[in-house]
């Protein structure tokens, strides 16, 4: 019996030591956002860590008086990112913790100098970073954006991420690209788009996307916010948004159609050695706003003109983006190659290597069918 007691207490000694290296959550430097930039003067990398300052987060009691920002941006330069992270402890007493990282914002300047696959290495290698953290690109200085006081959120880094959650409401918002997706696209040797962020009169604004080219893994160009719609149709990520039809396109106008859903189908054909692709876009819309006065929605036939105009608008947008990809940049950042791979696996296996030469001369047909399913609760018809 005494032996058993002795043995048990001896085991307990090890098991119940519990929290000898406890870390209070208040003492952990939680980083919500990260900025990656290139310092032209010193020719070094710059990293900005946005730390949460828990004491300055406004509570309900103290919300009346104005407080300073609840975050602290520490910007440092160095040769590698890991080195910068560790050098952060020279300035901040709290060790950084990246498990709650909400967004990574990089500058085009960085991707012009450094290869994207090298830049993201640390973020996919270290287990503390999550694959789901979204990545954004900006053409201006990163620090300016991370220093902007956001309007509705507490932290600029969270504001950036929240913007992309609007992608169901507006077609011009790029969909999120997580660092895991980015790594996947890089390992598949594909060119791709990183959602863009700009500063517009002191506000953070989602605007277009930056192109990363596969071979050089560098930033090569920017897709403007107007062209994002076409990209979304080709990526088949359209869930909402609107179609604007002005008076030149429809007799009574302008008209806004709200998109309720859209689906893009890709059909490929290989004749000889020439691949050809047909994009069939089927969009379902409702009449959202009508500035024309003479429309009688209770009479059959009013839709036809509008649907045709809408077809032309969407077709124009998609073709424009395809033209940018084929003629201006001559690279496939729209993931067209995936559909060739799926539908023409034999052709793809033979020509995988030459895709960069094939893509710019490929033939695309865009077929759009818009249907209007609804017109709302009331309709003015004053010209009777």
């Amino acid at each position: 019996m005494p032996r058993k007691v002795f043995f048990t207490s001896w085991i307990l000694l090890f098991v119940l030591t519990g929290c000898w290296d406890i870390k209070e959550i208040e003492d952990v430097g939680i980083v919500t956002g990260m900025g990656l930039d290139f310092n032209e003067e010193t020719d070094e990398l710059t990293m900005i860590n946005q730390y949460v300052v828990p004491a300055r987060i406004p509570t309900q009691q103290s919300s009346s008086q104005h407080q300073s920002d609840p975050y602290q941006n520490i910007s440092q330069s160095g040769k590698t990112f890991f080195e910068i992270i560790r050098n952060n402890s020279l300035e901040s007493n709290r060790p950084p913790n990246y498990t709650h990282l909400k967004s990574i914002l990089a500058s085009t300047a960085l991707f012009e100098k450094e290869r994207a696959d090298q830049v993201i290495d640390l973020f996919i290698r270290d287990h503390e970073f999550r694959r789901t953290t979204p990545v954004y690109l900006t053409r201006g200085p990163v620090l300016d954006i991370l220093n902007t006081e956001p309007a509705k959120e507490l932290f600029p880094s969270i504001q950036i991420k929240s913007l992309s959650e609007n992608f169901q409401k507006n077609n011009q918002n790029p969909t999120n690209l997580s660092i895991g997706d980015m790594s996947q696209l890089i390992s598949e040797d594909k060119s791709f788009l990183i959602p863009g962020i700009t500063l517009n009169e002191g506000n953070i604004k989602s605007s277009g996307a930056g192109i990363i080219e596969a071979e050089s893994s560098n930033y090569v160009g920017w897709i403007d916010v107007e062209d994002m719609e076409g990209v979304r149709y080709i990526h088949n990520t359209v869930q909402g948004g609107f179609i604007y039809l002005d008076e030149e396109m429809v007799q009574e106008g302008p008209i806004i159609l709200e998109i309720k859903g859209s689906k893009t189908k890709f059909q490929t054909k290989v004749t000889g050695d020439e691949p050809e692709m047909t994009l069939q876009i089927a969009t379902s819309t409702v009449l959202a706003e009508d500035w024309g006065t003479g429309r009688d929605v209770y009479k059959a036939g009013w839709k036809k003109e509008i649907e045709e105009a809408s077809n032309n608008v969407i077709q124009g947008k998609v073709e424009r983006v395809l033209k940018i990809a084929q003629q201006e940049y001559r690279i496939d950042f729209l993931d067209i190659s995936k559909w060739i791979q799926i539908h023409e696996p034999k052709y793809w296996k033979e020509h995988e290597k030459e895709w960069n030469e094939i893509f710019p001369d490929m033939n695309f047909n865009v077929e759009v069918t818009t249907e209007i399913t609804d017109f709302g609760t009331q309709n003015f018809n004053t010209e009777e």
Binding site: H127, T132, Q184, S187, I342
Partner: protein, 364 residues
């Protein structure tokens, strides 16, 4: 000693599935993606399962001819004492190596994802102590433990599958059936080894006395089929979430897949931790089975004493801590596969052939 004297069919299936699913489910996607290099890689699992089903017939034949005898007792009954000793020695070496391999990879995963700063020997040592405690009471308790944790494991897998659906991009899995079929079949040489564990039919035989050949075959094929199903589902999800090219580069693909699950503000915002706890049980069950085999083998080869359990522990621990890093561990896996083929295919096949030629069974 446990009161468990005779396993039911369901218990046997649980033993097989628990010991088959282990580190394979974490590591296989990468090896398979590198070998097959196509969206069709999940087909290789089915081919692997078919190969294993054929091999399992050897075990059933042996188990029926020598009911109640473990592999270690069978060898001397069939081959004579000296050759039998050699066979036993080889099988013991095989269990030792596989146990150490499982333990080291598990330790690596725990260190990578859970206990960052804990020294490896503590992680590995405590894992093994728990296993030793379980083995101390014999096979019956091991089976009871497997039975107890089996539902937890399954629930964890199902939950992971359900939560991954949101991230699943079926275009990553397409095109289907377009790869060169021979390349896909050659992937079976990798998938075969993730079904290691069916040899325990010859180890737990003290608990499988009264079984007909037909029942045993059905049991084994059901467990192989269910395991293959779990593997196939996991691989399709892994490809769908991460893509084949990415699978080639990720150290622990299945965990990364669990890591890409995120439900903002939901209880499962970080699901991979919960998944890891569930998965650790599966690694623990396969490890325990191999360590039990090792202890049993040692007891059969020499004068049986209680001290063989700690001896087995020390051997495993030494071998586990021998490789410097995971690179070496993965490098050894090729040799481990060769040893496995020798131990679980060639040895039992030889036994069966000699037994058929000599025409002796335990019953006579």
């Amino acid at each position: 000693m446990s009161d468990l004297k005779q396993l039911t069919m369901l218990q046997l299936i649980i033993v097989f599935i628990s010991s088959m699913i282990g580190i394979g489910i974490i590591l296989m996607p990468r090896d398979l993606a590198n070998t097959v290099d196509s969206q069709d890689l999940w087909l290789s699992i089915i081919f692997g399962a078919l190969a294993v089903s054929v091999v399992s017939c050897i075990y059933v034949a042996l188990a029926v001819r020598y009911p109640g005898l473990t592999f270690f007792e069978m060898t001397s009954a069939i081959m004579g004492r000296f050759v039998g000793f050699l066979f036993n020695f080889f099988f013991v070496v095989y269990s030792l190596i596989v146990a150490a391999y499982i333990l080291r990879v598990t330790g690596g995963i725990i260190k990578n994802y859970l206990l960052d700063t804990t020294p490896l020997y503590i992680v590995v040592g405590s894992f093994m102590l728990v296993s030793m405690y379980l083995i101390y009471n014999g096979a019956g308790d091991i089976v009871r433990f497997f039975q107890l944790y089996f539902p937890i494991m399954m629930v964890m897998f199902i939950v992971l599958c359900l939560l991954s659906i949101k991230n699943l991009d079926f275009n990553n899995v397409r095109p289907v059936f377009q790869n060169n079929i021979w390349v896909t079949i050659s992937g079976a040489q990798i998938t075969f080894f993730s079904f290691l564990g069916m040899e325990f039919l010859l180890i737990f035989s003290k608990l499988i006395k009264k079984k007909k050949a037909k029942n045993l075959l059905i049991t084994m094929w059901t467990s192989i089929g269910l395991t293959a199903l779990i593997y196939v589902v996991f691989h399709i999800i892994s490809i769908g979430v991460l893509g084949v090219e990415e699978l080639k580069e990720i150290t622990f693909p299945t965990i990364e897949m669990a890591k890409s699950i995120e439900f903002q503000g939901f209880f499962f915002e970080r699901f991979e931790l919960i998944f890891l706890f569930g998965w650790l049980t599966t690694a623990f069950t396969s490890f325990t089975a191999y360590m039990y085999t090792l202890t049993l083998g040692l007891k059969n080869m020499f004068t049986p004493t209680r001290w063989f359990l700690p001896v087995a522990g020390i051997l495993i621990l030494a071998l586990t801590l021998y490789p410097e890093g995971l690179t070496e561990v993965f490098h050894y896996s090729t040799y481990i596969q060769l040893i496995s083929v020798a131990a679980i295919v060639i040895l039992p096949a030889l036994l069966l052939i000699v037994s058929l030629v000599r025409g002796n069974t335990y019953a006579t």
